[in-house]
């Protein structure tokens, strides 16, 4: 086999010879590259319609260029800024509740010494992560709805009047955060629990012998040891502030609370798919992608600046 290769490529360059040796690997990569070109890179070319007045009958190539007109239009649109504000509000509120809670729960789990008990509780806490958003939204509706919702039934039982969890703007944000925290908190502890197992036991021992109380050991031993992980996770979460999953706001949202539930991704969906405004929808998507990349680079720089690992 190798002899044939040598003869065939006697005249060609060294690189080609090397590449021929790896022919099977390249053959394996053909479907992979084809996949990425078709479903990832051609759509990237499709972004050009953000700078065109897209017309379905003319297609992507023939539609006339309009420069940044589309952007000028969306930057003037009230709904666009509203969707950005809502995205940031929901993300920041969720982060503010979920981030510290996840660490606290991880620390609590870490204190449990009965291994069987720990395993079972971990299994239970991870469970919501595996349930689809449609199911979560369905359950949430059953629990939180005004009439006949379980929680309001219980409140009514105590003589408290029903709370509009799903139909009042502020309460809706509350419900949204609750659902997210419920779904993600257990799963989020995994990374911290892993970091906690790598804390050197002799540090605790030394602190104990020096008379440190349980709380002092937590503050002066545990937290400093997992601080790098905490900082990295925080920076990572902050760098994702402009992107938001479409599932939760779309499924939990309804017409009454659209003023707080319409986020960038749902807006892109409604504008693009439901109203068939392809150019505008794509322009918003592009704006979001570019903002995301900028935030990511800034966050990475910042992480390195304060002496932590970068996130890129």
């Amino acid at each position: 086999m190798d002899k044939i290769v040598k003869i065939r490529h006697r005249g060609s360059s060294h690189t080609l010879k090397r590449m021929w040796r790896y022919k099977w690997l390249y053959i394996m990569l053909i479907p992979v590259i084809a996949y990425y070109v078709v479903f990832k890179y051609i759509p990237m070319y499709g972004i050009t319609i953000a700078f065109k007045d897209y017309n379905m009958f003319k297609g992507v190539f023939e539609s006339p260029w309009v420069g940044t007109d589309i952007f000028a239009k969306i930057f003037k649109s009230k709904n666009f800024w509203l969707s950005i504000r809502n995205t940031l509000t929901l993300n920041l509120t969720t982060l503010a509740v979920e981030f510290p809670l996840t660490i606290i729960v991880a620390l609590m789990l870490n204190e449990i010494r009965k291994l069987r008990f720990k395993k079972i509780t971990q299994s239970i806490l991870y469970l919501p992560h595996f349930v689809s958003w449609v199911v979560v939204a369905g359950i949430a509706t059953n629990l939180f709805t005004m009439q006949g919702g379980t929680i309001n039934n219980i409140l009514n039982g105590f003589g408290i009047s029903s709370i509009p969890f799903l139909s009042d703007n502020n309460w809706w944000v509350f419900t949204y955060v609750i659902c997210n925290v419920w779904k993600n908190i257990g799963w989020g502890t995994i990374i911290y629990l892993a970091a906690l197992t790598s804390v050197d036991e002799s540090l605790y021992e030394a602190a104990y012998l020096d008379g440190a109380s349980k709380f002092q050991r937590l503050v002066y031993v545990t937290l400093p040891c997992i601080k790098p992980v905490i900082v990295t996770m925080l920076i990572l979460s902050l760098s994702r502030m402009m992107s938001i999953g479409l599932d939760a706001p779309l499924l939990l949202g309804n017409k009454k609370v659209i003023g707080v539930s319409e986020v960038i991704s749902t807006y892109v969906y409604r504008l693009g798919i439901e109203s068939a405004k392809y150019s505008e929808s794509t322009a918003i998507g592009l704006f979001q992608s570019v903002t995301n990349i900028i935030i990511l680079f800034v966050a990475d720089r910042f992480a390195k600046l304060i002496g932590e690992d970068g996130i890129l």
């Binding site: 499709g46 008990f117 689809s132 991704s265 892109v268």
Partner: protein
């Protein structure tokens, strides 16, 4: 040893009692919504109507399940979802393994470029509409293929797998090469049999993703006969479908009937996940740890 002693002493303090109680409360909060679903789906009509159902079924009644399982649409959707999950997982595993194996070889010319091409899609993408146009353009719109082909490779899983392949001892490959094996043979005869655990993990990652995904179906599927389970569930929970049919069946008091029916549907679509959950959880946690090592 002294660590042990320290731990022993701690055990009976008030602090640890509170700790255990809090953890139990937390576990209860995680489980309660599922309990709520079961209670509603199994309760009698009047119990639901009067709002007495909270923690357990009242006037045990399997009517909601009978009604929901008698609907051919549910079975159709279940079939579609099973099909998508199987085909999607197979396609994803195939492509991810090829990519991860080929790009884990150290001296492959062009490796950097191709890896870069894959990783770049993590940070930048064409977005919803341009992707939608391509999927429609290649004729996948309103076909089941649209539900797994356009998102076949997850970059995250690719990184995990590549890391795994990279860490395999090189001597294995070299020995096989000396015996005249091609790269393809090295992959199928040597690497794959040693990677069953990681492949199973990746397979579970993909399978759960496909089972739970609904947005792709919302985007690409129009024909109601091709609705996946999640999409069907969505239209039953939040759409008009169920309300109308229940109204025709029950006459008055439809709202309550639908509550039981809705929760029975939720239960039916979640139970398969719960059945495989013990395996899922074990492998997933491993996978997350592998992923956090970062490629």
């Amino acid at each position: 040893m002294s660590v042990r002693r320290i731990r022993k002493k701690k055990k009976l303090t008030i602090g640890s009692v509170i700790l255990y109680l809090l953890i139990i409360l937390l576990a209860f909060i995680c489980l309660y919504p599922f309990l709520n679903v079961l209670s509603y789906s199994l309760s009698g009509y009047n119990a639901v109507l009067s709002g007495r159902v909270t923690f357990y079924p009242i006037d045990l009644d399997f009517g909601a399940y009978k009604e929901i399982l008698a609907r051919s649409q549910i079975w159709l959707s279940m079939r579609t979802t099973v099909l998508i999950t199987l085909m999607g997982t197979a396609t994803s595993l195939f492509l991810t393994t090829l990519a991860a194996y080929a790009l884990s070889r150290k001296d492959l010319p062009g490796k950097k470029f191709i890896s870069g091409m894959i990783l770049f899609t993590m940070y930048f993408s064409g977005g919803m509409i341009p992707t939608f146009m391509v999927v429609r353009g290649v004729g996948l719109y309103d076909t089941l293929g649209a539900l797994f082909i356009p998102q076949a490779i997850s970059v995250f899983n690719f990184i995990i797998m590549r890391t795994f392949f990279r860490e395999m001892p090189e001597s294995l490959e070299e020995a096989a090469k000396i015996d005249g094996a091609s790269d393809l043979q090295v992959l199928t005869r040597i690497i794959l049999p040693l990677s069953l655990a990681i492949i199973a993990t990746m397979g579970l990652f993909y399978a759960v993703g496909y089972w739970n995904s609904y947005f792709d179906a919302l985007l690409y599927i129009q024909n109601p006969d091709k609705f996946t389970l999640q999409l069907r569930l969505r239209s039953l929970l939040f759409g008009e479908e169920l309300n109308n049919s229940a109204a025709s069946l029950e006459g008055g008091g439809t709202q309550v009937m639908t509550q039981s029916l809705k929760m029975a549907t939720v239960a039916v679509s979640t139970i398969p996940i719960l059945i495989v959950y013990p395996w899922l959880q074990k492998y997933f946690v491993k996978g997350v740890m592998l992923g956090s090592i970062k490629g």
